[in-house]
Subunit: 254 residues, 2 copies
């Protein structure tokens, strides 16, 4: 069999109804296309969600960072390049490069994924899947010049901002609150006036626990820097009959 | 110039993160792809949103009905065929057929669109745009065997169910609440248990007025039939400093 290239490249369109009031692609929809690109690339190499489902395993997005100098505009065709940066026992790190036509670079992304058992929800040894072939397409030579996804450590002091209930459309194929919905809900903490004056430069999210339909999500915000007032931490918790638990942390730099 | 076919056909993928807990495409995402297909088709014929923007005009979706016997499943490739069914002075009716591979028919859609002036928000004579060429690609011969989009007449008695605030991600490129978001919010009125037992067969929506960021949306529900308990009306109103006004009516048949 011919060797596939280590980097996948996929074309997308900034659909008009996926763009915000400024006619730029919403960060949530960009995030969704990064996840699609990751899945297309994994599938080509025998590690796609569809195959993993058949053997009782799945990928879980653990961390994602996106850093953009610019956003695709309405009707722009854009490309996502993605490659595996490193492989650990139960994790892989995967990078992204977001390009326009004529190789204009919009930005980059970094992500961490865990492979888990769909029943036990525990990490599995991903090197035991597909004879560990995943190590054969690690790409070390390609640059992704942004800070890696961190665990997003935030202090205990954060201001309560708002809460929302979760419904049918928030739930993904696994019965959990969709990873992308968290991004959208976090971005909804800022006003249109804020977005008129500020471009989101970096978005970072760490998924801590899974939330389910019916959980109430609460949003807390804190400054992330003593010098830059455009740098924020956001903590999301879920509340249900078992109490309040952290599910997600984000950091936003405007 | 070679004559374009009257019917456009566009390919889509039921992306995994656009599918619900049952691994079927969300109705909202299908609706979004219908709007994309409409725009691709209009663009090919010189009536796309991008061109209309340059002459201070735009399409506004007035009514949409979708009737499905089945929904694309996760990773299914599906096709949307769309054609102009009829042209009036300020309106066109546009039909849709949703197909799978080997021409399996998932369902059909019907829609009504108004062309308006982006400044006055008033209907314009669409026959005056592009020398009225739109009349040349009306397709009368193709069947769309579902009831047409109605104005959704509902009685005055409807039960208040819930309300939501609107945020950054709800707003489209025109600064209005995104047409698709209404569909999602309406579907969120039913529980996961309901969806586990019922397939949505027909969804119909009539857009009455535009809502804006910051408006509070309120949802009211009433039975639509005295004999069928799976047939519902939903009314959406917006509330702001000017009071409460109807923005949207829907009818759902499970």
């Amino acid at each position: 069999m011919e060797q596939l290239p280590t980097t996948g490249r996929y074309a997308f369109l900034a659909e008009p109804f996926h763009c915000d009031f400024s006619q730029r692609l919403f960060m949530g929809h960009l995030g969704n296309q990064l996840l699609n690109a990751a899945d297309f690339h994994s599938s080509e190499h025998g590690y796609g969600l569809r195959y993993l489902n058949t053997i009782g395993k799945t990928w879980v997005l653990s961390r994602l960072s996106i850093e953009m100098t610019d956003m695709p505009r309405m009707y722009d065709k854009f490309y996502i390049e993605t490659w595996i940066d490193d492989v650990f026992k139960s994790f892989t790190s995967r990078n992204f490069k977001i390009l326009g036509t004529e190789n204009h670079v919009y930005g980059y992304g970094k992500s961490m994924w865990a492979m888990i058992d769909t029943k036990s929800r525990q990490p599995v040894d991903l090197l035991a899947v597909n004879d560990g072939k995943i190590t054969e397409y690690v790409e070390k030579g390609k640059s992704c010049p942004i800070e890696k996804s961190s665990r997003v450590k935030m202090g205990k002091i954060a201001e309560y901002i708002s809460s929302i209930d979760t419904y049918y459309n928030d739930v993904d194929i696994n019965g959990h609150i969709n990873s992308i919905k968290y991004i959208e809900h976090v971005l909804d903490l800022w006003s249109l006036e804020w977005y008129e004056a500020h471009l989101l430069k970096r978005f970072e999210v760490a998924y801590v626990a899974e939330a389910h339909l019916g959980d109430k999500l609460k949003f807390y915000r804190a400054p992330a820097s003593s010098t830059n007032t455009n740098d924020f931490f956001v903590r999301i918790t879920k509340s249900n009959t078992e109490g309040e638990t952290e599910v997600c942390r984000a950091r936003l730099l405007f």
